[in-house]
Symmetry: C2
Subunit: 298 residues, 2 copies
């Protein structure tokens, strides 16, 4: 186990290594690398490696999978930021991918990452054996696709237009729960589950870690919803205040800031209890929780 | 082995079965299914199943992989047609995906297919065993990504702007060869290679079938370049004549129609020799070649 700073350093080094720069046509690899290597919290890869440790594995074995999930996360950011989606010009304090490389290359860079990420897993995790590797790829396809993060994104887009009218036959609070569960929590679940699978965790453990991923994901999204209203461009590196301006369906627009903070505190407390219940304690996961609390000042 | 019509019927049935319609949020599955199930020649899945038969396997074992490659092909069409790419309004005689479902959903439907396709392979090909399945997924990630079809697309986009000035340090004929090899031939190679792998073909056979895929892919792209100038919207179901109007780098703009037809005839003759050289003959592949000839009237 490492601490957060050590993990981030390791992940950044590996992400840089994994994506080549000198392969023709260079534009596509440059565009992929640009967003993947923007400084970030690296929550998902840290979760993946820590989950592996929690269940008795070595974090080193989870490095390729952890980095692949960060690439997948970057892919969702590149496409989310496109003019036809959220139309954002800044991400992590830098111009978004399409602002630097053009829209066509940004679409293709995202597409390329969706194939590149599992390729990295397979290429650098051969020692795990075909059975386990296939299980990891299966998880990757499930949580990254139309049953996973994309389901959340589609619902999120629909919700922007018309959430007050019970679209999809769902009440706003049900729709919001669906969006949070998929748009954000699915990559957290994928990270924790694949780490656990690499360690050889059993089904019962997988269920537990999935529940933790759901809670952490929802908590993180609530904190993001809060920050959209309370933070600044300088602090967050992206344009904020859009949720309120567009009356978007978020935890804050639905329940208000105070209730959002209260709910966030409750979920994070539950997460701490769960993390402390595992045989091997994860200081890094507890640190992530402290980080979320600090972000929103609770 | 089946004939072309029987294969197409089988593929259409399976594509329809594989993509569900009643899963929330329905929009994304509808958008995926829309483009995947537009009537098409189904060249790639037929190649995959026939390659499996050529090397002594049963085409039935290749059905999920064959259909997954057709889904991947549909993904490239959806994103290629986007306003920021080719900006096409019609595909196979119908409005393009973004015209029906909106740009955001079209981007996400394409993304979803990139995860859904390998998921289908894994879900329905368990009987092949983990080793072989992993090899197929590896091929899928290689040929679908930045080393494969996307490399061709990126070079194609760059070539639109500035191909007369030796971009990337390549002469126009070298650049064109790169584009054809990746943009079109890579999915042909993927189809033939995965079919062969399912059958248990050896390395030497894989090399041969890869060479056939390269030739067939280049031939098909040359025929497409010819048709862009000589065919009509009614015949092709998409807007034509854009290559000439935009002076795009194609086999026809570079060498002229007559030379393109001559080259096409030569390559297809080579393909026929190769196909006849395999121990088990593929009538369907020969039929595909006849179809290409007929398309352009040679």
């Amino acid at each position: 186990m490492k601490n957060i700073e050590e993990y981030i350093e390791l992940i950044n080094k590996k992400l840089d290594q994994y994506i080549p720069e000198d392969i023709f046509p260079e534009d596509i690899f440059k565009a992929m690398k640009y967003t993947v290597t923007l400084p970030g919290k690296r929550l998902r890869p840290i979760m993946c490696m820590e989950s592996c440790e929690i269940f008795g594995g070595k974090y080193e074995n989870a490095i390729p999978t952890a980095c692949a999930i960060e690439m997948l996360h970057a892919q969702t950011l590149i496409h989310d930021d496109l003019p036809c989606m959220d139309n954002d010009d800044f991400r992590r304090g830098k111009p978004t991918n399409h602002k630097v490389f053009g829209e066509a290359n940004a679409v293709l860079a995202g597409d390329a990452l969706l194939s590149f990420a599992p390729q990295i897993i397979i290429k650098y995790s051969k020692h795990l054996g075909a059975e386990k590797l296939l299980k990891i790829i299966e998880e990757y396809t499930q949580y990254s696709g139309a049953y996973g993060v994309i389901a959340g994104q589609v619902a999120d887009i629909e919700a922007e237009k018309n959430w007050k009218n019970n679209i999809f036959g769902l009440k706003p609070e049900e729709l919001l729960a669906f969006i949070h569960s998929h748009k954000t929590a699915d990559l957290f679940k994928l990270s924790l589950r694949t780490g656990a699978i690499i360690a050889g965790a059993n089904e019962k453990d997988l269920e537990k870690i999935t529940e933790l991923g759901e809670k952490l994901g929802v908590a993180f999204q609530i904190s993001d919803d809060i920050l959209d209203e309370t933070s600044t461009f300088e602090e967050m590196g992206k344009t904020l205040g859009k949720d309120k301006a567009t009356e978007k369906l978020t935890y804050v627009t639905l329940y208000g800031i105070d209730e959002a903070k209260h709910k966030l505190t409750c979920i994070l407390d539950e997460c701490c209890v769960m993390i402390s219940g595992f045989e091997k304690k994860s200081a890094a996961l507890l640190e992530i929780i402290e980080g979320i609390k600090k972000r929103v000042g609770i």
